[in-house]
C-alpha cells in the first residue's frame, strides 16, 4: 500500500485568493489523481497528473482554475485559484488503481472553507 500525506490538512481562505495543496507519496508512482469531495456528495475526479507532462482535466475542470504541478514521481500540487465559497470542499490526492487488481489509495484530504 502507499502512504500519502497532504498539506495543509485544513484551511480557511478569503474569496478571491488562491491555495496550493501539496501531496507527497512514499513511493514513486506514474499517475497521481486529484479529487474533490463536496459536502454531502461523492468524489469527483478533477484531473490526472503525470510526471513530465501536462495534467489531464476532467469535464468541468480547467487548468486556469486548478493548476497542477508534478515535478517528480512522488510529489504533486493542486492550486485552487480565485476561490469562491463554492470551492469549499475536501480535496483528496490519490494514487494507484491503474493496473489490474491494483488498489487505489487516498491521502487524508485537505478541508477547505472559503468565506
Amino acid at each position: 500500500s502507499a502512504v500519502i500525506s497532504q498539506k495543509p490538512s485544513r484551511d480557511i481562505c478569503q474569496r478571491g485568493t488562491s491555495l496550493t495543496i501539496q501531496c507527497q507519496v512514499d513511493s514513486q508512482v506514474t499517475m497521481m489523481f486529484w479529487y474533490r469531495q463536496q459536502p454531502g456528495q461523492s468524489l469527483t475526479l478533477i484531473a490526472t497528473a503525470n510526471q513530465g507532462s501536462e495534467a489531464t482535466y476532467e469535464s468541468g475542470f480547467v487548468i486556469d482554475k486548478f493548476p497542477i504541478s508534478r515535478p517528480n514521481l512522488t510529489f504533486s500540487t493542486l492550486t485552487v485559484s480565485n476561490m469562491s465559497p463554492e470551492d469549499s470542499s475536501i480535496y483528496l490526492c490519490s494514487v494507484g488503481g491503474t493496473g489490474f487488481q491494483e488498489t487505489q489509495y487516498f491521502g487524508p484530504g485537505t478541508r477547505l472553507l472559503v468565506l
Partner: protein
C-alpha cells in the same frame, strides 16, 4: 457508462447488531468493485475489493461484502457493529479492462448507537 447507487444516505444500527450498507452498480462488462470508509476528518481508507473468484470478500476491521452478479449488488456487511464503525462508506466500481477511473457512489453514513 458505469454507475453506482447507494440507496441509503444513512444507516442506523445498534452496537452488537449486524449491519448492511447497500450498493448496486451498472457497468458494461465485468466489474471491479471496492468499498472505502471515511472516518471523520480523515481521508478514504480502503476496506475491500472484488475482482473475480469467491463472491464473498473479506476485508479490514471485520467487514465483508458479497458480490451478486444477478442482482448487480455488492453490499457491505459486518456481523456485529461497533460504535467505532460509525463513518461514511463509499462503494466504487470500474470495468475490468476499461477505464482505470472508478465511479464512486454518494456515500452512506453509518451510525452505530451504543
Amino acid at each position: 457508462a458505469q454507475s453506482v447507487a447507494q440507496p441509503e444516505d444513512q444507516v442506523n444500527v445498534a452496537e452488537g447488531n449486524p449491519l448492511t450498507v447497500k450498493c448496486t452498480y451498472s457497468v458494461s462488462g465485468n466489474p471491479y468493485l471496492f468499498w472505502y470508509v471515511q472516518y471523520p476528518n480523515r481521508g478514504l481508507q480502503f476496506l475491500l475489493k472484488y475482482i473475480t473468484g469467491d463472491n464473498l470478500v473479506k476485508g479490514s476491521y471485520g467487514f465483508e461484502a458479497e458480490f451478486n452478479k444477478s442482482q448487480t449488488s455488492f453490499h457491505l456487511k459486518k456481523p456485529s457493529a461497533l460504535v467505532s464503525d460509525s463513518a461514511l462508506y463509499f462503494c466504487a466500481v470500474r470495468v475490468i479492462g476499461g477505464s482505470y477511473i472508478p465511479t464512486f457512489g454518494r456515500g452512506t453514513s453509518l451510525i452505530v448507537h451504543p
